[in-house]
């Protein structure tokens, strides 16, 4: 008999997680569809389920220690409306799904689900977000890129839950988000692209570029970025062919029902070209 647990407190949730293996239900907007069965029947989850969505202790957005701290169960719509939410994240959430989904969907769900097409992940990578994983025995805070290791694969242990998303408070001169999907609302990305740049009049001080839905995980290359930092804008534009080539080898798109590898590769390259030619 499969158990369904609706804990009232975080402590209770952590205790359950320490004693068994659960499927974690956040907003349900991905899980309920992935496990969907015929109308009238419960989804085929096939293991114990713990429902965390209404845990008040995991519903907040606050500032402290140089971070914006987002409680794991905060619905996307509430993150969007918070005055301290970074502009990039607002742009991303604004184009995710629709209001009815955004009232339920959580960023922790996006992380735990670890889909290559998870839009908020692309923003979290370039924002240098850190993820607080909590268990009965303690907590660890890791960069997002260390948490997600493959298609639907994370390093989150069965006794852990995602408790908080920490985003360094920072300012950028250039903030770009591009989502390519079948339509404006309710689309799963074919390709997505985020860029954050700090620059003075002539020189790039900090450039961060990430692609979504073109590899098993979000692609962000600190190595390529390091080669671009400190360059003048003119130098950067002159380097364009080699930059395009470097990212072309970094991404590994596939053919699937939403798009083709060829299309994804071309569009990813076009967005990067546009950034460097027109948006810096």
């Amino acid at each position: 008999m499969v158990r369904h647990i609706i804990p009232k407190t975080l402590q209770e949730a952590l205790t359950y997680l320490s004693e068994g293996t659960f499927k974690i239900m956040a907003g349900g907007t991905d899980l309920m569809i992935q496990k969907r069965s015929t109308a009238g029947l419960p989804p085929k989850i096939g293991q114990d389920v713990i429902y965390l969505f209404n845990l008040a202790e995991l519903r907040y957005v606050s500032r402290g220690d140089g971070y914006l701290k987002i409680g794991a169960m905060t619905p996307l719509e509430d993150i969007y409306h918070h005055p301290d939410t970074p502009e990039l994240l607002k742009k991303v959430i604004y184009e995710m799904a629709s209001p009815g989904i955004r009232h339920m969907a959580t960023m922790a769900g996006n992380i735990g689900n670890a889909s290559p097409a998870g839009d908020s992940l692309v923003a979290l990578y370039v924002l240098d977000a850190r993820i607080k994983l909590q268990s009965i025995s303690g907590e660890r805070i890791l960069p997002i890129s260390d948490v997600i290791i493959g298609v639907r694969k994370t390093i989150i242990r069965p006794d852990e839950l995602i408790a908080e998303i920490l985003i360094p408070v920072d300012n950028f001169n250039v903030i770009v988000w591009r989502k390519v999907g079948g339509r404006r609302a309710d689309a799963i990305s074919k390709v997505s692209f985020a860029a954050l740049i700090k620059r003075n009049a002539e020189v790039i001080k900090d450039i961060r570029i990430a692609f979504g839905a073109v590899s098993p995980t979000v692609v962000r290359s600190r190595q390529i970025e390091a080669e671009l930092n400190g360059k003048s804008i003119t130098e950067l534009r002159n380097m364009l062919p080699s930059i395009l080539e470097k990212y072309a080898t970094a991404i590994r798109p596939i053919d699937d029902q939403r798009s083709s590898a060829h299309y994804r590769r071309q569009v990813a390259s076009n967005m990067l070209r546009h950034l460097i030619e027109k948006e810096i």
Binding site: H4, I6, R36, P42, P99, G100, I101, M104, A185
Partner: protein, 157 residues
């Protein structure tokens, strides 16, 4: 099994059902509230829209366990309100309802939008209803209907 308790259309209810059941199925099969429709069943069409704590959600991807302790309102209850009358008349006047299957969801999404933003722009209406598909109207009539409702119902939201 744990009991799930919540308020449904302002009445307290307590259920001993599998908490992973879709709220949509619980509403339609258990409570015989069939105003919420199943269209796509995957959160893309909005025909199953209901309000949880006054905000529109897709009840086809909402597990019953997630409404524990919350307030759920369906089109059947909302239809008793003045705001519904204003929206209904506006949909009627602008031709915003044709075959009708999307209409309950459209009305719930419009109510949620007007709750948060009583005087929405064209763009804000389109975003507010972006999770609701309609294959009859081409949407312009629905957008006009929401504008009309916001105007005629000024002060209600």
């Amino acid at each position: 099994m744990n009991k799930i308790t919540f308020t449904l259309n302002h009445q307290p209810v307590a259920l001993e059902l599998d908490p992973s059941m879709r709220l949509l199925d619980v509403l339609r099969d258990h409570f015989k509230l069939t105003g919420s429709k199943e269209g796509c069943g995957e959160g893309e069409c909005g025909a199953c829209s209901v309000l949880v704590n006054g905000r529109v959600v897709n009840s086809c991807c909402l597990p019953l366990g997630n409404v524990n302790g919350q307030e759920v309102v369906t089109i059947e209850e909302f239809a008793k309100t003045k705001r519904y009358q204003v929206l209904k008349d506006a949909f009627h006047d602008e031709g915003g309802s044709q075959c009708g299957i999307c209409t309950p969801g459209m009305i719930m999404a419009a109510e949620s939008l007007l709750n948060q933003n009583p005087h929405p722009s064209d763009e804000e209406i389109r975003i507010g209803l972006s999770g609701n598909l309609c294959r009859c109207t081409g949407y312009n009539m629905i957008v006009k209907a929401v504008h009309l409702a916001a105007k005629k119902g000024a002060g209600l939201w």
